[in-house]
């Protein structure tokens, strides 16, 4: 152990210290006292892909809870398991073990159909790309969750949702391919908001945008979330400016959690995690 400590790099040392400083009672790896409150709760969740020898653990015994109305950024190097965490938390993927509670409901107890119905009623999604169905107009895309739920779609409600994200009535009639990347992300946010969700999951929502547009999109999400719990998966340190806390993943496990994170601090930590993971990290 001593030998290990002595061989520790400065970054590693910093990480260890930071981890101690940032310990969060609602987060951990294999933690048995993970809080059970909040709209998003993961308890000892593991997810493995592949078969037999090629089996890879993308998530390993992860526990995490997000308080209502909080903004959580999930960060980590490539392959750290952040997207898998989002997929399991949102019910897009079933975990190999552990439990996920979304909006107070244990997902494993819901059928595939019930999960789909829950998503369209209570959960909003914003993805990096392939966010909008290309053959539907922007307005139809925004109204999609309502249509799927066979709810009455009022044009005014769609216009209002669009206006909240800065899209004009004219843009609603266009196809997604006729909008810029930033405008498409705005439309995706409008679609997420139109159902007044309890939780919004965003997977690299700014990954394909320039820094200026990315900032305005995040600002918009923060302003319009309207009490929803937001979980953002990202590798962009700037995102944390709009978040209440940052969760760092490493090798499928929760490495640490930072409350009120600062971009500089997060960038350093990401760099260190990237180094540890084999230089794959590219913190901005």
């Amino acid at each position: 152990m001593l030998a290990c400590m002595s061989a520790m790099t400065p970054e590693r040392e910093w990480l260890e210290q930071a981890a101690g400083a940032f310990d969060d009672p609602v987060v951990g790896t294999g933690s048995t006292d993970a809080a059970t409150a909040g709209p998003v709760v993961l308890e000892k969740v593991s997810k493995r892909f592949g078969r037999r020898r090629g089996r890879v653990a993308a998530l390993d015994d992860v526990s995490l809870a997000c308080a209502a109305g909080s903004f959580t950024a999930v960060l980590g190097a490539s392959g750290s398991g952040k997207s898998t965490l989002l997929q399991c938390a949102a019910g897009l993927e079933r975990p190999s073990s552990g439990a996920v509670r979304l909006c107070g409901t244990e997902l494993s107890k819901l059928s595939d159909r019930k999960q789909a119905m829950m998503r369209r009623r209570q959960v909003g999604f914003v993805f990096q790309e392939l966010n909008l169905v290309p053959e539907l107009t922007v307005g139809e895309n925004i109204a999609l969750p309502l249509r799927l739920a066979r709810r009455t779609v009022h044009r005014d409600a769609i216009r209002e949702a669009a206006a909240r994200v800065g899209l004009t009535a004219g843009q609603l009639r266009r196809l997604p391919s006729e909008l810029s990347g930033g405008q498409q992300q705005r439309a995706a946010i409008a679609r997420a908001l139109v159902i007044r969700p309890e939780v919004i999951f965003a997977d690299e929502p700014t990954g394909a945008l320039d820094p200026y547009t990315a900032q305005s999109v995040l600002q918009l999400l923060r302003q319009t979330a309207d009490g929803a719990t937001v979980v953002i998966v990202t590798h962009d340190p700037q995102v944390v400016r709009f978040c209440d806390r940052a969760v760092f993943l490493d090798g499928g496990r929760v490495d640490s959690v930072v409350s009120a994170p600062e971009p500089g601090q997060v960038a350093q930590r990401l760099h260190a995690l990237g180094e540890r993971a084999g230089g794959g990290g590219d913190p901005r």
């Binding site: 897009l92 993927e93 595939d112 159909r113 119905m117 998503r119 993805f127 539907l136 799927l148 196809l175």
Partner: protein
């Protein structure tokens, strides 16, 4: 139905164009087939034009199988008149409203026994309508059972009984095409729909992520299919009508339909085609819709959209069941000696093989990609192509299946046909052992007796081709012959397997092994069997011989004395076969009978080959339908599959691939599709071919003419390569623009 379900069809129809083209082609071909099946033709009325009502003995042969609730009655038109007592004309003349009732014979050139007439032409008193008169006659004939009482256009079928037979045969061809068409369309549409779903996995995942249930996604795909089916029916309507008219003209020209036949051209065909298309599109879309519904919502998040390489367990099981079915049927066919049973196995074998190939397509593609691994060493183009195939085997399978379908079905039908024709020709050369064959007009019993009496003659026999109705197991008229003279084995070598053909006496019948086997007539030596002569007269006889060479002379042989007067034409032989005659004396005999020619047995062969060619035309028509649908499907799946690789081509260009390397990659892909399609298609049709060949020729080796096989291979290869390379040109232009 929500608007979102069909938005793809309205705004981004590209992935579905293949399905639309296939659905339109299927609708077009089904409209054409229906317009042939329901064609209406009227025989010229001739002398009957002035008759208001025509009465004949029932012109249908009716046969009932089973008893009670299971009773099934079938009827076929008779090729000859049954005949009525001449005295009936006087009886009918007494019916109120009848101006005259005259017995007629010799329509068109039949002969009737004394005291009988073919039909009675009845004229009505002024002011009496034909229908009223027909009703009165029916009442007078105690309800008309056993009679055909015709007015208007229906009189035509009584004017010429052959006309109704030809019409039934032509319509039968149309009816035979429809199930093959449905089967082909199902496979074609399943392939195109699988491709269109595969191309849109990303958006199905997105729909699932934002809350669409599996049922909603499945319904969305099926709703698209339904709309495509209806659009296909509407678009295919006019071309289908035109094709049907052309088809009827061609069938008339080949003597398969009677002259004056008119295709059924009505707007009713549009809903019929739409309905049929709807069923085909929905059935064929079920697997693809299920797969769209099973797309994981998480795939909306993943950067690279990959396909599940493993098949759904149910699909895998069904595919393996298809292979098991082929093996079981093959084993069963090995233990079947009866040609009838073997023939009956051919269809299920083809179907099981096609189903197995379609269901296991992706596995076969992936396995072939692994086997083709060493080709990667030939360069980056082959490496890229094989990697792409291995990574997305379903997309390649969508392109391979239409090739399998084309090769499997065309091979099975075409090569069965060539084997039968080849065997008929070789059988006929072995069948006729007579040195001389007399043919022409006036070959009667007198001439046969004269020929038999010539010095040196060892045997002389008259042969008249005849349609004889047998229950095998459904009632139908099959080709046979009436023979007289003898000994028959002195002029014919029919390869008698049991019994003797030395002399065929009244009360006896000879049956071919094909017809005698179980599942067909199911008779053996000594069986009592009842067949019907062309005028419907039953002939009950004992099977006195069973012979294997039925292709040349027909499947049933009866004595000419039994058939005389029941064939609808004056007693005359088509050929008189003579063995051992002195050439000079025979020449003198021929010279004494104008209209009679003597030739060696090659004449007989020529005639048999001509008949085979006519039968072949029907098969070629069916082949044309399959080939059309298979070609359209193959072209559009390959085009769509090539064009959708735009992104990949762009990426490869950016990382330094040359245009030549890209072209090479697509060419390798095309080659893979063609070779694998040909191999699987050949495997699928070989099971069917061996069963058919064992049934007909007794040998499992089919006769496949090199030219015919080369044509199929070259056409498939040219179409596939042409399509891939044409699509590549478009694609490379698009890539260059960006």
């Amino acid at each position: 139905m929500s608007g979102w379900m069909l938005a793809g069809l309205r705004r981004r129809p590209a992935p579905m164009i293949g399905t639309l083209v296939a659905a339109t082609t299927a609708a077009m071909l089904s409209i054409a087939a229906f317009s042939v099946v329901a064609e209406h033709s009227q025989a010229p009325l001739g002398r009957l034009a002035t008759a208001d009502v025509v009465v004949a003995a029932d012109n249908q042969l009716t046969y009932t199988t089973g008893q009670g609730d299971n009773a099934d009655t079938e009827s076929v038109p008779l090729p000859a008149y049954r005949g009525l007592p001449a005295t009936l004309a006087q009886q009918l003349a007494g019916v109120s409203g009848v101006a005259s009732a005259v017995g007629e014979t010799g329509f068109p050139d039949g002969t009737v026994p004394p005291g009988t007439v073919d039909l009675i032409a009845v004229k009505a008193d002024p002011g009496i309508s034909p229908d009223t008169l027909a009703q009165r006659i029916r009442t007078d004939l105690h309800g008309g059972a056993g009679y055909t009482i015709a007015t208007g256009a229906a009189r035509g079928d009584l004017a010429d009984p052959q006309f109704a037979v030809e019409r039934a045969n032509g319509q039968g061809l149309g009816i035979a095409v429809i199930p093959i068409l449905i089967m082909t369309a199902l496979f074609a549409l399943a392939a195109t729909t699988a491709l269109s779903v595969s191309l849109r996995r990303g958006r199905f995942a997105l729909l699932r992520a934002v809350g669409a249930t599996r049922g909603q996604v499945r319904r969305a795909v099926l709703a698209e299919q339904a709309l495509i089916a209806l659009a296909g029916g509407v678009i295919g309507f006019l071309p289908g009508i035109a094709l049907g008219r052309w088809g009827v003209r061609v069938l008339v020209a080949h003597g398969i339909l009677p002259p004056g036949s008119v295709a059924w051209s009505t707007t009713w065909l549009m809903p019929i085609a739409c309905g049929m298309d709807l069923v085909i599109c929905l059935l064929s879309g079920l697997i693809a819709a299920g797969r769209a519904a099973r797309v994981k919502p998480a795939q909306a998040v993943r950067a690279v959209s990959t396909e599940r390489r493993w098949l759904h367990p149910v699909r895998l099981l069904l595919g393996l069941a298809g292979i098991a079915g082929v093996i079981v049927l093959d084993v069963v066919s090995l233990h079947q000696s009866g040609p009838g049973a073997l023939g009956a196995l051919a269809g299920p074998l083809l179907m099981a093989g096609m189903v197995a190939a379609a269901l296991l397509g992706p596995v076969l593609v992936a396995a072939a990609a692994v086997l083709a691994g060493p080709l990667r060493r030939t360069g980056p183009s082959a490496r890229l192509a094989l990697s792409g195939i291995y990574a997305l085997p379903r997309r390649t399978a969508s392109a391979v299946i239409p090739v399998v379908m084309a090769v499997g079905m065309i091979g099975a039908i075409d090569f069965s046909n060539t084997t039968i024709s080849h065997d008929a020709a070789s059988q006929s050369s072995q069948t006729v052992t007579a040195g001389e064959v007399l043919s022409g007009n006036g070959l009667n019993d007198a001439l046969l007796t004269e020929a038999a009496g010539l010095p040196g003659v060892r045997a002389a026999a008259g042969v008249e081709s005849l349609q004889i109705a047998a229950t095998d197991p459904d009632i139908e008229f099959i080709s046979g012959a009436a023979v007289s003279g003898g000994p028959l084995n002195g002029v014919l070598d029919l390869d008698v397997t049991s019994g003797s053909l030395a002399a065929l006496q009244p009360g006896q019948i000879a049956v071919s092994t094909l017809e005698a086997s179980n599942g067909v007539m199911g008779v053996h030596l000594g069986s009592k069997v009842t067949v019907h002569l062309p005028d419907g007269t039953p002939y009950t006889a004992t099977v006195s011989a069973i012979y294997s060479r039925g292709l040349a002379i027909g499947d049933l042989l009866i004595p000419a004395s039994v058939a005389a007067g029941h064939t609808g034409s004056p007693a005359a032989y088509d050929q008189v076969l003579v063995s051992g005659a002195d050439p000079t004396r025979l020449s003198a005999l021929v010279a004494a009978h104008p209209g009679v020619q003597a030739a060696d047995r090659q004449v007989y062969n020529a005639q048999i080959q001509q008949n085979a060619a006519q039968n072949g035309f029907g098969n070629n028509l069916i082949l044309g339908v399959i080939a059309a649908l298979a070609a359209v499907t193959m072209i559009n799946t390959l085009a769509v599959a090539t064009l959708e690789r735009r992104r990949q081509a762009r990426l490869l260009t950016r990382v330094g691939a040359t245009r030549g390397q890209l072209a090479g990659m697509f060419a390798w892909h095309g080659l893979f599709v063609v070779v694998l399609g040909l191999v699987i298609g050949a495997a699928v049709c070989s099971g069917t071919l061996t069963a058919v060949d064992r049934a007909i020729t007794g040998s499992p080796t089919p006769y496949i003419p090199f030219g015919s096989a080369a044509f199929v291979v070259a056409t498939v290869a040219a179409l596939a390569f042409g399509t891939v390379m044409a699509a590549f040109r478009i694609l490379s232009r698009q890539v260059a623009k960006h």
